[in-house]
Every structure is written in structure tokens, then in C-alpha cells.
Amino acid sequence: MNAVEIVRFAVRGLAANKMRSALTTLGILIGVAAVILLVAVGEGSSQSIQRNIQQLGANTLTVSSSTGGGGGGGGGFRMAQPQEDTGPRTQAKPLTVDDARALADKAAAPHVASVSPVVSANSQAASYEGASHSIQQVVGTYPSYFEASNKPVAKGAYFFNDDVLAARKVIVIGQTVAENLFGALDPVGKQITVTGVPFTVVGVLKEAGSTGGFQDADDLAIAPLPSVQQSLTGFGPLNQILVKAGSADDVAAAQAEITSVLDQRHGVGGTVAADYQILNQATLQETVSAATSTFTVLLAAVAAISLLVGGIGITNIMLVTVTERTREIGIRKAIGAPRGAILGQFLVEATLLSLIGGLLGVAIAVAGAQFTIAGITPVVVPSSVVLALGVSVAIGLFFGSYPANRAAKLRPIEALRFE
């Protein structure tokens, strides 16, 4: 009695009850596919978030006001930083263009490469010849913003320092805005109105892609700082200051310089808590990846439960099979089947069920990962495939061993008497 023989008996046993075998396989199939697919979705969302953080610009630090003056918006993600000191604050100063100028001072902050003050206005109605679109975010800033925030132009050009000084009504729009207002037309050179104020489109930003379904990174427009202040936001405080460090190694030094300059200007120190916060891409990235990995683990845990349920399904069906075939087991034993052969047959039957289910599950998961799920492109993690397959086989062996043992331990005389 060799292994091939045992496998042949097992296949014959499974084929005898095709419907039942198929349904049991389905249980494992769903479990394995769920594990792989959900881990892939988690990984996909994690990668897309990482990519979006990188899109915000490398080596950049975002300074924003921690008082109410900052308003909503911001370049993307905001992270609440714990207030370490809750001491009395006599007067919280908003961020101003003067703060930005001070940060650009090479003597005080040698590691800072560029400084871009930012004001933003949310949900601004824009129109072009009857077409209208509500721009999610209109940003008023300096030309250095494009480089610091990693927003290259696909068509046309940026605006220049001259435009800022002259407060010209020029604007660079994102892909979503261009599509909604112009469709197939070339927007460059056309005039749009933003809340009634005419702006000339000078460029269209390169498509950034979705930020994982939370926010459309292409639904924005960028114009010179004074133009936006004049027409949309008023000359209030800045929403944020985007600072670009000279290189990745300079980020920490730049952060220290920004802190010292702003502490001095805002009178922070002693019992006075800082009225601004500095967002560092590196720390943001760490926090977000920690959050997404928790998310992935959670998804995988849910999927693992369905795999477990599939395994219990195997035990159940194998117990039924063993009971149903008690007489057959008795006959086999009476004509000299050793215990190992019976154990092997039922164990192989259970393992085949789970292995076939596992392989089909992998196939379906890989096929399903080709589609976008909830705005996320799943990324199949090879280790999850190996793990899910391994676990499904282990489940077959583990959950099949109880019924198989029961079959093998049956005494032939009792098994033969069984009706």
C-alpha cells in the first residue's frame, strides 16, 4: 500500500460525493481568498498612503498654527501633536508672511532651502463658459511651493515671483479642475472665474492620483499668495508655511532652526507654550505606517476567522463521511487494511479538500486583486499567499485528523455490524 494508492482511494472517496466536496472546498476557498485579498487591500492602501505622503514633498516641514487661526485645509494630512505644556498663554500669535521671511533668512536658518507661505480657501466655486466646478482647495503661495510640495506642471508653466509681487490673477489648476471645467480643451491661456474673480490659467498640474479615496489630490488650484488673499481669503494669518530643507539629512537641523526662529518671534519659552506646530514627513510616515499595519492585521484577523470556519466545515463533513462509510471501513479492515491505510485515506481526503480550496482561493484572490476595491488597488503580498496556502493545508491535516483517527480506530467487528 503506497502513497499513490492512498491518494487514489482518497480521490475516489471525494469524487463519490461531488456536491459535498465542492461545498466544503468552497469554505476553505473563501477563507484563503479573503486572507490574501484583504491583506492585499491593506497593503495596497498602505502603499498608496505612503506614496501620497511622499508626494507631499520630500525633505519638507509643514509649519502650521496650533491656534484656531490656522483654519482647515493644509497640504494634506494633519497630525495632532500633544500639547506638552498647558501653561498660560497670554497671546497666541498667528503665522504671518513676516514669519516666513524670517525663516528664509540664511543667517538664522542655514539649512532651510526654501520657504513658501500658504493660505488656502476650501470649496471655491469656479466656472468657465457655463461649466462650473467647486474647487476643493485653492492655495495661495509663492512659486517655491511647487517644488517643495512636489507638484510638477504637466502643461503650461508655473507662475513667477513677478506674478506674486504684482498680485497677478494667474492660476495653475489640477487635473480634476481642468477636466471638469474644460473637458478636452486646452485650459492654458483661458480665463476662469473663482468666486466671481477672473483668473488666467497658466498651467495644469501633473496628475497626482487619488489619496486612497479620502481626498482628491488633483482637485486644487494654486495662485500667487497676494492674489488669493485679495480675492478669496482676505489678508488674515497664513494657514501654514511650507519649508523645504536642503537635503534629507538637513531636515532635523532645519526643524531646530525653525523652532528657534519662531520661538523667538512668538515669544515662546518658559511657561508659554508653542502656538505653532511643525509637521515632519518622516514622523508622519512612521505614524501612518503604524496605523495602516494595524489596519492590515485587523483585516487579516477577520479573514483568518473565516478560514477557521472553513476548517471546522472540513471536520464536520469528514465526520459525516466517516459515519456514513463506517461499514466500508469495516469491510476494508476485515480484508486486511492496516490502520495506517485507513488513517491515510481519510487524512488525504481532508487535506485534498483544503488544498484544492486553498489553490482555488489563491487563484480567485490573485484575479480579484486585479480590480480596484473601494478605491484601493490591492497589492498581493507573496508571503500572505504562502501563509494562507500553508495554513489551509495545515487546517486540512489538523481538522481532518480527528475524523480520520476515529475511522482508523473503528473496530472491524463493530464497523461491520453498523447499518
Binding site: M1, E328, I331, A334, R339
Partner: protein
């Protein structure tokens, strides 16, 4: 000459205490090679228990049982399986073929468990089916065969390993008279060819074919009659071959 079967003072008790059932109360039975023994008795006489012990499906509560010189009770599970495979060919009242397997595959099964190579297995299985006159039914499944044919497949399966002992439990109990004659004819011819056969039955007709008839009652042997010599031919061979 070594005995095929040597049961010494075997007892079998089911249950314990006041509800204990004494199925066998000290049975001794010796069977020589080539003998054809019919064990007779009414229901409850202990003949099924005796057959289970002889067939290595059960062990006696007390007493000894040697099959072909081997003390079966002392063997472990694995070796008992080997003994059942090599030394005993079982024929059951209800045929006990495995459903959804063709006749030839049913016959091959003991060889498969015995580790015989597939080609050799097929050859021997076909030869055994030919011996019981079913050469034209090899690929039929049990549910496509009549009762008599099923029992002949079962006999082929029992013979395919050339066992020391062919053990039949009411082999004709579920058959009509024609099929009964077929089966008894096969047994008689096998006996004439020198096979050792033990048949458990409660039908006198069947027992008359044997060379020796042993009667059981209440777990004891009450009669042991020899109808023909051990090395002779079975008494009714002429009738069934006529």
C-alpha cells in the same frame, strides 16, 4: 501436520456483572488443512462470536487461538491486519462489496492492501473472477450485479490472496436457491482442490456439503460429525457439478 485452526477452550463474555452474556463457554476446535467444516447453530448459539474470533475480528476473553500456527491474540494491531489480509478470506452474508467500485477493483482491494504491484494485481483479480465464472462482469459495479453475482465477486475477493482459510458467514443466507447452488458448487470445487473452508450456517442443506459438521448450542460444541474424510472429496460434489 500443523493445524490451520486451533481454538483451545475459548470463552467470550460480553458485558460484566449481572448483565454479562456468555457467548462462548469454552470451545475447542481443531481444523486440519484441506478440511471443509460447517459450524451450525441457532441464533444465540455463539456461532457468530466464534466466527469473529476465527476471523481475527475479535479476541476471546479467555483461551487461546492459533491460526496457521500463529497465536493471533498476541499480535498487535498491525500484524492482525496482515493476518486478516494474508491468511483469511472473508465471505459475508450481505456480500459487503464496496459500493461505487467495479467488481475487479473490489477483488483487487486485498492485494492493494497487501502491497502487490498493479499489473500483477489486475492479473490475479481477473483470474479469481474467472474462477467464480464472472469473467464477463469485471467492470460492473456492485449495484449492477445480482445477489448471486455479488456473492461470487465476494468469493473471488476472498480467494485472490490465496488465503490459508476461507471463512464464510451464512454465505447463502441472502440468496435464492439457484444462486445458493452456484455458491455451494464453488465451495465444493474449492474444497476438492484442497482449500480449507469454514462455513457458518444454520441451514442443514448447506451443512450437508461439508466434510464435517460442528453444532453449537449455548456457547458449547454439542456435536461433531464427520461426513467425509479430510483428504477426500466433499460429499455432494457430484450433485453440484452434475
Amino acid at each position: 501436520m500443523s493445524l490451520v485452526l486451533d481454538v483451545r477452550d475459548a470463552t467470550k463474555v460480553y458485558g460484566a456483572g449481572e448483565t454479562a452474556v456468555h457467548a462462548l463457554r469454552g470451545v475447542s476446535l481443531q481444523v486440519e488443512p484441506g478440511d471443509y467444516v460447517a459450524i451450525m447453530g441457532a441464533s444465540g448459539s455463539g456461532k457468530s462470536t466464534l466466527m469473529n474470533i476465527i476471523g481475527c475480528l475479535d479476541v476471546p476473553s479467555a483461551g487461546e487461538f492459533h491460526l496457521d500456527g500463529v497465536d493471533v491474540g498476541a499480535l498487535d494491531d498491525r500484524r492482525q491486519a496482515v493476518v486478516r489480509n494474508r491468511k483469511i478470506g472473508f465471505v459475508f452474508q450481505s456480500f459487503n462489496l464496496i459500493p461505487r467500485m467495479s467488481a475487479v477493483m473490489n477483488v483487487e482491494l486485498p492485494l492493494a492492501y497487501g502491497g502487490v504491484r498493479p499489473a500483477e494485481r489486475r492479473r490475479r483479480a481477473l483470474a479469481a473472477l474467472d474462477l467464480v465464472g464472472l469473467a464477463d462482469r469485471v467492470n460492473h459495479q456492485p449495484n449492477e450485479l445480482s445477489g448471486g453475482q455479488q456473492q461470487r465477486v465476494a468469493i473471488a475477493r476472498a480467494l485472490v490472496n490465496s488465503p490459508t482459510l476461507l471463512l464464510a458467514d451464512e454465505p447463502t443466507g441472502a440468496l435464492d436457491s439457484t444462486s445458493t447452488l452456484d455458491v455451494l458448487g464453488i465451495f465444493d470445487r474449492l474444497s476438492a482442490a484442497g482449500r480449507t473452508i469454514v462455513v457458518i450456517t444454520h441451514e442443514a442443506d448447506v451443512a450437508e456439503h461439508a466434510k464435517r459438521v460442528v453444532r453449537l448450542r449455548d456457547g458449547r460444541i454439542i456435536e461433531d460429525t464427520r461426513l467425509a474424510p479430510v483428504d477426500g472429496l466433499p460429499p455432494r460434489l457430484k450433485e453440484v457439478t452434475a
